[in-house]
Point group: C2
Chain length 532, copies 2
């Protein structure tokens, strides 16, 4: 059952309905429907006929003082569910916390309370604080259907939310879940809006700032559309799925952790919304701000450095767009009392050399060990971000943070801190000199001479994913050349690693379509203005 | 299996893939998932593990030279589906037209071809003709997930479509299904945009115009959110689900039919879109125009009278809004070569007295039989609509239609025509003097004296639905007073009929919340300007 979401809100607890007419015996149907609760009723079940349900109706199931909503499937096979039984998909069954055979009642589900507010948003109205709280509560309680969720996401994307509404949404998302309190005045975090492969700075920033004494309880997500998230890469080195109390102990002892955020029930409505946003590739400013800031506030952060990379294939492609996004972040952060430092960074190409969990873990460990093969861009960016966070401390003078971070890294104190964190989280054997990469490989070569004038973040990420990352942890892309590097025709641009022949073939086809690299003259390299 | 959609497009026929690696034995899983194809794989199935599917992934199943898309559910019970089997929900299984045990292959589904166009619409772009054709084709082929469908519907609602785009959408929806050709120069139809309970004019207009010799092959829908659709009411009197060829024979012999439109595969993409629009109560001008006109064009109509009721609780609430809607209808109709006559009618209250299938059938038959109890508003409105259609005939002088329609009705020729149609469609016994109404009743009384100043269409419809209509055909609301009628305190405003005690209680609660009636002075009655 490891695929079940662990951060689901507890079902509402309610008095049992008094009507006995609809009582059935619960039965666990061993079908995993992922995040969707499904109830199964036999077509000849008296309740099904009397209530006038239709297949795909939303029904409310009550048992054991709890209530869940489910989508109804109608069954014609008594071996799956009998006439006096109510079947529930695995996860739905778990939520009721009962044994097989327990009595349950089923009725037509009332529409979610907030549906009126949703309709008003669909009609183009501006919503108020109570509207957002009501909508987000229903979303976190899984009372919205996929249709209603999608309608909310589409009706609030682009410029449909003003900044005040983004603030209400953020606040409501925080309120929908748990809020951690570390009982310290300074709790730091860093976050990147995403889109740049290999950008594993968190795994360097957290040990550096923790070595300086700052509290940095870093929770990260797994990759959804990218070849690796911080949680996927960290999982190469240690366990990342930890019970929340264990996590808190590690943070208290080592001043930092690097864990998967899914166990802590932080901003659970965000996870539900993401399940709809990702398939639609929607990433609107308002939703991005609410999603990121709600997680940080819920995690108890007081100070955040936010990384907005900018480049032709980054999420943000122009400075005005980056500045506009920054203003919304700043407005909401100030309303919600989060100290925010936004940096606009170079997002023209991947950061580091490796793309994929094992390859990225290799790069991170090489930076920590001051290995000469360590990618310098990953080192420099991490030091600058860590420096910014260190300057949050009142005893550090503005401008001194970078040098302090560099000393911590060069002296080996960052490595020692990382090793302590890894040990506490249950270290796995890993040798960056011999990373366990996918053994099936091919190389992509330069077809002309010149300098590398562009690397397409999206295409390189796609190739790494097709090769198997992040599921196959040793799969991915290892970059041999970066922007501005001189290449001769026939030089290796990058090597693709896979573990399965079919993955390798798919990756080869993706590379044949487009290598993601362009070769030209130094003047062809696009310039980018950064604020960092 | 009568609940399965009958107008589904045939699955694409394709050469079998050559890879044998993913072959499994098909198994029918007796679960009815309604319009959503579901595939079931055991968690330990080698294909499931190798392909890296996730629960709720969209997969492509190929067998017997056909291809369908399905949502994946993961099963942990070998009695539902074994490790070497691929389970399919009932309807999905039927689409492949094979026996249990037939070999099938399964692979990750490619995203629908039109997904790029959908993303562009989400980003606010104007789409072209090819974009709409591509999107609508994918929708009709069931290649869109619920999330993608909803995104399309929300991204094209309100003012997101300009009138040219509405035309492209209409044209694409016609092209997605069957198009009937009656081989006559004049094929007439009438349609109402909906929202007014009891508005059963089609069942009077069709026999009147057919008695005059016009061809009127009327296909109607069942109620989705209302207490009765024309198909539901007609079904009280005769069979409405007829094979298309039978329907065509009836039309050729009697010049008209009154049947359910679901068997003819007209504009199938519309039915798919409605499955998302209805739960969201979305009814935007562009989607309404495309939905209505695509069905009419597909049904082979050449002349259409369109009824837009206007009133405080109608779909359209102001004359400017009605005129704006009319302009879009007119623009698209002219592009698509449909002769269109839009009438803007009084939508301040229900039409007729009865609301619910049997009650409405009673009103219709009383009008046809010139019974003194026949509701005059239903009679007058039907005569005017029929008159407009009769004037489509080149031999009829403008202004003469109403008198011709009245003669046909008063002379009994309309009744004779209706009886002929009923007999051809398989008449059921019905006596409007003793309609089989729900035997559980209560009455709602006036609590003060005065005149009826408003009747809330939405609330009265809600009460009729809660009482059981349209599923319970004898359930509904029988109105004793209409707008402007004088009432004394204690007079009966309406009677509610139900067949089940629980329905009666729900209806009583709904009435207690709001009776839907307001009593006041004659001056309080809202005025409405009509163009009819």
């Amino acid at each position: 059952m490891s695929q079940l979401p662990q951060n689901r809100a507890a079902p509402a607890t309610l008095p049992e309905k008094s009507t006995a007419a609809t009582n059935l015996a619960l039965r666990r149907v061993a079908i995993d429907t992922y995040r969707e609760n499904v109830a199964y009723l036999h077509r000849d079940c008296a309740v099904y006929r009397a209530e006038g349900f239709q297949a795909l109706s939303k029904v409310e199931v009550r048992a054991n003082g709890r209530r869940i909503l489910a989508t109804l499937n109608v069954v014609d096979d008594a071996s799956i569910v009998g006439c006096n039984e109510l079947g529930l998909s695995e996860d739905a069954f778990l939520q009721l916390a009962v044994q097989d055979g327990h009595t349950a009642s089923v009725s037509q589900a009332e529409p979610p309370e907030s549906i009126g507010a949703l309709y008003r948003k669909l009609a183009g109205e501006r919503l108020g604080r109570e509207d957002f709280h009501s909508i987000v509560r229903d979303i976190a309680d899984l009372r919205y259907s996929k249709i209603e969720l999608t309608a909310f996401v589409v009706a609030t994307h682009r410029d449909e939310l003003d900044r005040e509404e983004v603030y209400y949404l953020t606040e409501a998302m925080v309120a929908s879940g748990r809020k951690l309190d570390w009982h310290e005045p300074l709790v730091v975090d860093k976050h990147c809006i995403g889109g740049i492969p290999g950008n594993r700075t968190s795994m360097l920033v957290a040990p550096i700032v923790a070595a300086h004494g700052l509290l940095c309880p870093k929770t990260s997500s797994r990759a959804i559309t990218s070849p690796a998230g911080t949680a996927d890469t960290m999982e190469v080195l240690a366990t990342v799925e930890l019970p929340f109390e264990k996590l808190a102990d590690i943070v208290r002892e080592h001043r930092a952790c690097l864990a998967w955020g899914g166990t802590a029930n932080l901003s659970p409505a965000d996870d539900v919304l993401i399940s709809v946003e990702r398939p639609l590739a929607l990433d609107s400013p308002g939703q991005m701000v609410a999603s990121i800031l709600s997680k940080k506030i819920a995690a108890g952060s007081t100070h955040l450095v936010l990384d907005i990379p900018i480049g032709p294939t980054a999420k943000v492609r122009s400075m005005p767009e980056a500045q506009r996004l920054r203003r919304i972040f700043q407005y909401v952060a100030s309303r919600i009392h989060l100290s925010l430092d936004v940096v606009i960074t170079d997002g023209r190409q991947p950061i580091g050399n490796g793309i994929g969990p094992v390859l990225e873990a290799r790069d991170v460990m090489r930076v920590l060990e001051n290995d000469p093969r360590a990618p310098n861009d990953l080192r420099q960016k991490s030091l600058r971000l860590a420096g910014r966070l260190i300057e949050c401390h009142p005893d550090v003078r503005g401008g001194d943070g970078f040098a302090i971070a560099r000393d911590i890294l060069d002296s080996g104190r960052a490595l020692a801190k990382m090793n302590a964190i890894l040990a506490a989280q249950g270290a796995k054997p890993f040798d960056h000199n011999h990373p366990q990469l996918g053994s099936l490989t091919f190389e992509v070569l330069a077809v002309e001479s010149g300098v590398v004038t562009s690397i397409d973040n999206l295409q390189v990420a796609r190739i790494a994913r097709v090769a198997g990352a992040p599921k196959v942890i040793g799969a991915g892309v290892d970059l041999f050349r970066k922007l501005g590097d001189a290449v001769a025709s026939g030089d290796v641009l990058y090597r693709v690693h896979a573990s399965f022949q079919s993955d390798l073939e798919f990756a080869r086809q993706a590379c044949a379509k487009s290598s993601g690299y362009a070769i030209g003259q130094p003047d062809d390299i696009p310039h980018v203005f950064v604020e960092f």
